[in-house]
Amino acid sequence: MSTSILETKDLFYDYSGLQVLTGVNLQVEKGERHAIIGPNGAGKTTLFNVITGLYAPCRGKVIFKGQNVSGFKPHKLSRLGMGRSFQITSTFHNLTAFENIRMGVLSRMGIRFNMFQRVDKLKDVTRETDVVLRRINLHRESAVPANALSYGKHRALEVSLAMSTNPDLVMLDEPTAGMSRDETHSAVDLIRRLTEGKTMVIVEHDMDVVFSLADRITVLHHGKVLAVGAPNEIKNMQEVKDAYLGHGGV
């Protein structure tokens, strides 16, 4: 618990005047499962998008593996070892499950501009893709187009696509959004299994998921960090209860 893999320093972001992030100081230690929670409109998703390079911060810094990566484009962050999943399922919907995962595997192996070999002749890519599909229990559906998968499986594909580049830090944006109780349960298992030995940051509304997965929790409120701590501490903190229930505030 000493080296932090991801850090944000005094991060500001506004949507043309609407201040969403007002000085976020976040610290994610290497190897931990870190959850970001907060009431609606706290700026969780914005924070997520700023960290993963979709938006450049207005002020402040994002530090990943000791390097200032503020304003880096997603593909650059991906190559540095950051992966992300999306709240609204965002796979390659016309491609099969196999082809979806293969996109990540190709990138991981650094095969990004190869136009002189057939992709199905690259044996190690095929093998590695099969391994991934087996791990997420999708090997029987490998030839099924992503948009024909059941919702739960599609979400599983979404999360494993983020993992397919083998990132050191994976950012999951509400991985269980819209799932039934059973699906949520197996999704949590899957996430726990996939992120073994990795660092994970998760934004989640479902408190059961948060408390069963996270080692540490950051509470975001009005674009600022309200509290940081272990799940048990957070559960009993008066400020957090107030923020969620709406009295007091900051």
Partner: protein, 331 residues
């Protein structure tokens, strides 16, 4: 193995038909086939953008025109310029045009892309129309010699012989189409399809979306340029209306939509339908667009996606029925 045998049979049939065609059909029909092959190559090159990258270009004539003018001007100004280098240089010039435009084109998709390509296509049209000293304006470039194909020590093939030129065109087009087909099977070809489906995700997986798109624009431009060059060699005259007119851009889009969008071989079928139909109508009237346009509307309304999809739908239905029947027998 089964697939291999099927492919082998298809190739044998194709080669036999393509080989025998000029001897069976006569000169006039052979020339129609030359047109067809060139057009198919052009349509497939556009299809790389439309079906695989997912962007609609209204200005593909630009690359076709650059290829055609390059060939015409080279042969006009440099005496004895050999055939194959002229062909390849035309392709490279068009590919280069694609690369030059790509910094702008990779930034936009959808309607903006269509409008931007339309603008560039029209810009090229006007440029060539007004830059009379070089391009000859409306009259175009004509009167250049078509060089023979010299294979040192083997033969010198006269390209003015329609049969010989037909074989030459077919070989060039088949090679070109095969290279593009191969491309769609490579990792880069997969990334391109990924960009079509979800370019943001491709970015998040660590690929450079814009660089990848630039490569595909250059490649698509290259083969459109080769098709333009074949046109120049075939017609012996290159003018703005012949190679840069906006209809030159629209026609392959029609071929793709009639043949089958989203498939690799659909555009070839579409090209066949359009060119053969046009040839048949031309016997009765000059206004071929009346009929081809009508066909286009009918396809868009009743066979959305094109004939390849109609065929695949029928096959699927047939298979389903067979499956059901065998199940009933079992029961």
């Amino acid at each position: 193995m089964n697939k291999f045998v099927r492919n082998l049979i298809m190739w044998v049939v194709f080669l036999a038909v393509a080989g025998a065609a000029p001897h069976v059909l006569g000169i006039v029909k052979t020339n129609v086939l030359v047109e067809l092959a060139t057009f198919a190559l052009f349509a497939v090159s556009l299809n790389l953008l439309l079906s695989f990258t997912g962007v609609l270009s209204f200005g593909h004539a630009l690359f076709y025109g650059v290829g055609a003018y390059t060939t015409a001007l080279l042969l006009y100004h440099v005496e004895g310029f050999p055939l194959i280098p002229a062909l390849l240089l035309s392709g490279l010039a068009a590919g280069l045009a694609g690369l030059i435009l790509s910094p702008l084109l990779v930034r936009v998709t959808g309607t903006a892309f269509a409008m931007l390509t339309l603008a560039f296509g029209q810009l090229m049209y006007i440029l060539c129309l007004k830059f009379r000293e070089v391009t000859g304006g409306e009259d175009g470039v004509a009167g250049y010699d078509i060089p023979p194909l010299n294979i040192p020590g083997v033969a010198s093939l006269d390209m003015l012989d329609s049969t010989v030129f037909y074989y030459f065109t077919v070989v060039v087009c088949v090679i070109g189409i095969m290279i593009m087909w191969f491309f769609t099977k490579t990792p880069l070809g997969q990334v391109v399809v990924g960009i079509r489906d979800n370019s943001l995700r491709v970015d998040y997986l660590g690929y450079r979306v814009r660089h990848t798109k630039a490569i595909i624009f250059a490649l698509s431009g290259f083969f459109a340029g080769i098709a333009g060059s074949l046109f120049a060699l075939f017609q012996g005259v290159v003018s703005t209306d012949g190679v840069l007119h906006v209809m030159v851009s629209f026609y392959p889009i029609m071929a793709i939509l009639i043949g089958g969008i989203g498939t690799f071989f659909g555009p070839i079928l579409g090209s066949g339908i359009l060119i053969v139909l046009e040839d048949m109508i031309m016997r009765y009237t000059e206004r071929a667009e009346l009929v081809t346009g009508l066909l286009f509307i009918i396809v868009v309304l009743y066979v959305p996606g094109g004939f390849v999809w109609l065929w695949m739908g029928l096959v699927a239905r047939f298979k389903a029925r067979k499956l059901r029947m065998s199940k009933e027998v079992e029961a």
